[in-house]
């Protein structure tokens, strides 16, 4: 988990300014994906090439067969999936921080103008060190998204959903659902079709199913959030 701290810190910020479903999605991401990937799946895939054995002593045959069987290892594929699925939230965060900074600058300028109009007095304008997101109104303890920030948030969830679907479909196209114990390899320099045996296929299948399930859960949460926000937007439009 230490290696993921780069992303973790960025996502902590997003966690503070998300809706309830967004927070649940982030928790699922942290615990079921990053932690499981870091702790368990790495040790299952650790010796994947060393223990990939082919029924041949032709030098080079095992190398090319392994490369044909696994163009990209599952572990690395899931790392890329996590990174690409988290990125839209970070873009939203960047936009939010930018909007807040612009608002703060505008407020400062207005305050200075007001000070000049009122004349030099003991008027203290408290400059906020860490700007609060003012597009979030915390009325009755609930957080309300509005305006352009809502649009960016919805965009980020749409992109996130697309990425999630793309990666799940990509995994299906690359490997199907389950990993077979036996891979028959017909690539040169292997002199004839060679039987190659994958290391720990059952353990790997358990993790593959687990990560697919978590991906599906993540997708469902994103869709639920979209539905929830869409409903809110329609209500806002009718309220106007």
């Amino acid at each position: 988990m230490g290696d993921w701290s780069f992303l973790g810190e960025f996502l902590e910020e997003v966690h503070k300014h998300s809706t309830v479903i967004g927070k649940v999605w982030l928790t699922v991401l942290f615990i079921f994906r990053m932690l499981v990937l870091g702790a368990a799946a790495e040790s299952s895939w650790g010796d994947e090439q060393a223990d990939f054995q082919c029924d041949t002593i032709q030098p080079g045959c095992e190398n090319v067969c392994y490369d044909q069987a696994f163009p990209i290892s599952h572990i690395r594929y899931w790392v890329l999936q996590i990174i690409f699925v988290s990125t839209p939230s970070l873009v939203y965060m960047g936009h939010a921080m930018h909007t807040v900074r612009m608002q703060e600058k505008r407020k400062l300028r207005e305050a200075e103008r007001a000070k000049e109009v009122r004349g030099a007095g003991s008027y203290q304008y408290p400059v906020a060190e860490k700007a609060e997101l003012s597009c979030w109104e915390e009325g009755n303890g609930r957080i309300v998204l509005q305006g352009t920030l809502l649009n960016t948030y919805v965009c980020s969830i749409l992109i996130r959903t697309t990425m999630e679907v793309a990666f799940i479909v990509g995994q299906y196209l690359l490997y199907g659902i389950f990993l077979d114990t036996l891979h028959v390899c017909r690539r040169s320099p292997c002199p004839h079709p060679v039987n190659c045996y994958v290391s720990r296929p059952t353990e790997k299948n358990v993790f593959i199913v687990f990560m697919l399930a978590v991906g599906a859960l993540s997708l469902l949460l994103s869709l639920a959030e979209l539905y929830h926000l869409g409903w809110k937007k329609i209500r806002q439009r009718f309220a106007k």
């Binding site: 230490g2 290696d3 993921w4 780069f6 992303l7 960025f10 090439q49 060393a50 032709q58 030098p59 080079g60 095992e62 190398n63 090319v64 392994y66 490369d67 696994f70 163009p71 990209i72 290892s73 572990i75 690395r76 790392v79 890329l80 990174i83 990125t87 970070l90 960047g94 930018h98 320099p189």
Partner: protein, 204 residues
Amino acid sequence: MGWMFLRDLLTGVNKYSTGIGRIWLAVVFIFRLLVYMVAAEHVWKDEQKEFECNIKQPGCENVCFDHFFPISQIRLWALQLIMVSTPSLLVVLHVAYREGREKRHRKKLYVSLGMMDGGLWYTYLISLIVKTGFEIGFLVLFYKLYDGFSVPYLMKCDLKPCPNTVDCFISKPTEKKIFILFLVITSCLCIVLNFIELSFLVLK
């Protein structure tokens, strides 16, 4: 973990950057540093052990591996990351210098320590140009060293002590190709961001 040190250094840079500078930092942290640490490093972990030549002559494999990989792609990636991140520290150093000057003269010399005016603007500009230079330099070096950005699965080697032309097989060539492509794309993205930032700075 040595990379945490770089991360801590660069987090200080975040305060004195423009908006695009912050985007650049995020791209470097997440798409380059994180991908390197969590994924790419492991692909190249056993590269020499799994490098196999179709020959029993002792020493032939060693010589061929050394010939094809004078410096491993992953180490070049690491060097590139370090060289590309450090020019940003020039800005931090300059701000620290300004602080030191203010303390020595015991009065306020600058409107704001971090504001981009006068000397600091030039420092920022120079750091951007050096950064972009390093990026392009490393990409060109990569291209020249490895004859393009792809990794073949078979290479032929006929150096001594190999008695004839020998087939040598590289491990995981497709996965290595995918990550090298990733490296090139993020590098180009960073170059584009640097150019945009340069034009903003110069035109403002």
